[in-house]
Amino acid sequence: METKVTGRAFVFGKNIDTDQIYPGRFVEFTDIEEVAKYAMAGADPKLVQEFAKGDFIVAATNFGCGSSREHAAITLKAIGVGAVLAESFGRIFYRNAINVGVPVIVCPGISTLVAKGDQLTVDIVSGQVKNETTGQMIQAEPISDYMLNILTSGGIKTLIKKELEQKCGSR
């Protein structure tokens, strides 16, 4: 996983729920290419056309509240999100994002400091965010070691697989 990422910001408000990130009527899809088509479809149906790999989702409080659907994290992973920066996150979405390897960064005040299209550089480990468009530095909360280990391992699946292999190997 790249720990320093540069991209453009797509900015959203507060309480962006999982139905807006990935509407319920598409939950039956399981193939990643299909899931990628509906990223943020409930909030901004045009996002998938404009979004480039490495771009960021920026939001106010409680991003990802609502349902437990992992699709919400998978769809953002599938479109290549550099990181999601929000003032706070819904807890299941937060776990899901870390598990599938999407960096989720708690960043107080971010929604007022970044406008749509601003170029950002984000250091995922230190939590340092630079708004290249305005020149402003923003300090996010660093991700805890426990979560960072999952993220840098490439997600929980890779991590558990590795742990299981080590266990079997040591026998």
């Binding site: 507060k14 309480n15 729920d17 139905d19 807006q20 509407p23 319920g24 009527r25 939950v27 039956e28 899809f29 399981t30 409930g42 909030a43 409080t61 409680n62 509240c65 609502g66 349902s67 437990s68 659907r69 992992e70 699709h71 994290a73 998978i74 706070s88 996150f89 819904g90 807890r91 299941i92 776990r95 899901n96 598990n99 599938v100 426990y146 997600g155 929980i156 699946k157 558990i160 697989k161 299981l164 292999e165």
Partner: protein, 417 residues
């Protein structure tokens, strides 16, 4: 320590846990629902061959019951085959209903348990003194493989509900008022305990609604200390032994909020957020295209009972649909036995198979652009029950039934003796 902390400590094999600590707990019951075939995929992707303990796994085919597309049918087929292959006997097929109600009906939930389901409303089981929480597909897959899951020990908030509950006011009104006051993200990462004389008056169904909606406060889990009402229910339903934990008298909550419910009026959450709450009088007269009664929040026997009472011998408004989805097969059977189904069908209601149905906007009761729905469910996000420009008001089952009768939002109090 708090009862929740004692429960978590025991499941983690520890004497003591503290807020913020990350612990690895044994999960007593892990539930998967049919939205998340990814759970099975992740299990195999991790390298899983056999599940850790098939007796601790339960499969619910509830969100697409019965399937309305070939993809849904195929996903369910794969789930059934997984259960048969892995020896998972607790396969709740499309005839059973919403996971949380099925767990309650079958006596599978009880105090002292950790219940994890791939469904955000697993907080419901705090009504039984269990630790219930929702997770995503891959987290659940790790439980299938290891029998355990990591948790961050949450801060615990006390919400104290005092006073006699007024006529026409229900648990749904109370919890909407709490969410409207504290905000949809107030409880994120936290556990919420409900206490007070108002809680003591609530039956199990209403307690389930209260705990269920704590998810809309962002809570990780919720809790009601088991009392005589809980025990009465458990004695009828649960045959397994269980342990009830108690909070130490000197326990310090991370925060405490007291609400007096004595003067509370029926409440509604307005589109498009569960915390946009106001007294129903603010919305009186608003035209309703569809009234929806159902879900793990508001589709139980007492909910159908109040609707039947309001609509007995009457007809719903000619320009309004009334969609009713009993939460489970058990609820449906009981409502039939008591005559509620007959009354409601005669009044013009449309019954749908027990399950999640249109609560999450997949099928069976979708709303069109520009339509308004009043619903006893839990979420009114844009597009939650259909078109993103369809509006959803959340209220009590009584408010829903009264709106079905009049074709507009009304104060339900006047329709109940």
């Amino acid at each position: 320590m708090h009862a929740i902390e004692k429960l978590l400590a025991e499941k983690a094999g520890k004497k003591f846990v503290s807020t913020g600590e990350i612990i690895n707990c044994e999960v007593d019951l892990a539930g998967i629902n049919d939205l998340y075939l990814q759970t099975v995929r992740s299990f195999f992707e991790i390298g899983g061959k056999r599940v850790y303990d098939p007796s601790k796994i339960i499969m619910f085919l509830d969100h697409y019951a019965p399937p309305s597309t070939i993809i849904q049918a195929d996903n369910q087929k794969q789930f059934r085959e997984f259960c048969w292959d892995q020896g998972i006997d607790l396969l709740m097929d499309i005839n059973q209903g919403v996971c949380h109600q099925v767990l309650a009906d079958k006596g599978l939930v009880h105090p002292g348990q950790i219940v994890v389901v791939t469904d955000s409303h697993t907080t419901t089981h705090g009504a039984f003194g269990a630790f219930g929480t929702g997770v995503g597909a891959t987290d659940l897959a790790t439980i299938l493989l290891t029998g355990k899951l990591w948790f961050r020990v949450p801060e615990i908030i006390r919400i104290h509900l005092e006073g006699t509950i007024p006529h026409g006011v229900y648990a749904k009104d109370i919890i909407l008022h709490v969410i409207g006051t504290l905000g949809a993200d107030y409880g994120v990462y936290k556990a919420v305990e409900f206490t007070g004389t108002a809680v003591a008056q609530l039956n199990i169904s209403e307690r389930m609604a209260l705990c269920n909606m704590s998810t809309e406060l962002g809570a990780k889990t919720s809790y009601i200390q088991p009392d005589a009402i809980t025990m009465d229910y458990l004695n009828q339903k649960v045959s397994r032994p269980y342990k009830i934990y108690h909070t130490d008298a000197n326990y310090q909550y991370a925060a405490e909020h007291t609400f007096c419910v004595e003067k509370l009026q029926p409440q509604l959450a307005a589109p498009f957020s569960v915390d946009r709450v106001a007294a129903i009088e603010q919305f009186i007269g608003r035209k309703v295209d569809q009234a929806y009664l159902g879900s793990c929040t508001g589709g139980r026997v007492p909910d159908l009972a109040v609707a039947a009472k309001i609509l007995a011998g009457k007809k719903i408004h000619s320009r309004t649909r009334f969609v009713i989805v009993p939460a489970s097969q058990g609820v449906f059977l009981e409502a039939m036995k008591l005559g509620y189904v007959q009354t409601l069908v005669e009044a013009g209601a449309t019954f749908v198979t027990p399950g999640c149905a249109c609560c999450l906007g997949t099928h069976e009761g979708m709303i069109a652009e520009g339509e308004t729905c009043i619903s006893s469910t839990n979420r009114n996000f844009p597009g939650r029950m259909g078109h993103t420009k369809g509006e959803i008001f959340l209220g009590s089952p009584a408010a829903v039934a009264a709106a079905a009768l009049e074709g507009k939002i009304v104060d339900p109090t006047q329709y109940i003796d």
